[in-house]
Subunit: 73 residues, 7 copies
């Protein structure tokens, strides 16, 4: 049976494109490069969206896990 | 006597359809694939509802446990 | 002398009808089936009330302890 | 010299009438029956006040410590 | 060199009059009787002020440390 | 290479004048006397500013670390 | 394979210019000098922006990790 615990799923998605929705209508889209058990995420080629509109491009970003609503591969 | 502690109940519902209500009027419906003790959840075939209206479909999502109000099988 | 520590009182009420008031004007009424030290609760035959009006019926629900204001047997 | 650490003071007030003020203008008055180190409280013969007006009577209640502003014997 | 770590300073002020400012415009003035590492405080002869106006007198109160902005001897 | 970890930097600034900005538009200026790992701070000769206007003078204050946005030497 | 865990990435950026976005529309730009596992950051030559407008210059600042949304090298 497949192991689908949250950190295992994050680990399987290293190198993949993910959507990270935060509280307050913010969203980050990019490639997952790293994570830790607090769901802090390292991403590359990041596009920031606020209320659905693209607002920034970041070569890389460490997104704090506290504000995450969901992470979708 | 049946063991109905929260994590045991989550474990029994792996593979089942669940409704996850979050703060701020958000709801995620889909199949529970995994969880951890923080109530972080891995779900597949996810439909997002905001204030009762469907807003997104996600093949899979890791929903952060912090924002959960309730999980209903 | 009776032991009335919070978790002991929860344990004595397994199988009993309880009222669970959450922040943001939400209330859940149903039968307590399980709990953990974070005050996460498993309930059955749950009625949800928002601002005093019944809004949902759930066969069972895991209510996250974080949002609890009080639990009343 | 008297020991007046918070948990010691709570313990001395088991069986006494207390006022528990919570955030968001809520207040619970009743007899303290039990507590734990998180300041979760078990009370009996509880009267709930919202913004100074009595709103409910509860035979007993487990009040979550997170929301407490102060407890006054 | 004097030890001025926060808990040491609290300890030195047992028996002294202190001002405790909380979030949401609340202030408690009285004599510090006890404390714990969470900055939970036991005070006697307490006057409560809300937005600068005196609103209550309490013979004693256990004030939860979570809401503290500052404590001033 | 210089050690610039947060607590080391605080320690180097004992006895120095610091600006402490808190959430909710509050600022405390004074001499840093002590700290702990939660960023709770003991300060002397403190001036409080709210939304940029000086509102109070305190001979000393223990400022809770939870509300800190930044500390600047 | 490169190690891209959050703290490793912070460590690699000691001495580099970073953008630190906080909740509530605040942003700090400067050189990263130190950090700890809570994402508390020590920065030098800091410019503060509020809602996109520069509001302050600080020779150095310890920014509390709690309020961080993201850190971008």
């Amino acid at each position: 049976m497949e192991d689908n615990r949250p950190l295992t799923v994050l680990n399987r998605n290293i190198g993949n494109h993910v959507i990270v929705e935060l509280r307050y209508g913010k969203e980050y889209r990019g490639v997952l490069q790293g994570y830790d058990p607090h769901l802090n995420l390292v991403m590359s080629d990041v596009k920031e969206f606020v209320e659905g509109e693209q607002t920034r491009t970041l070569q890389s970003a460490l997104v704090r896990g506290d504000n995450v609503v969901y992470i979708s591969p």
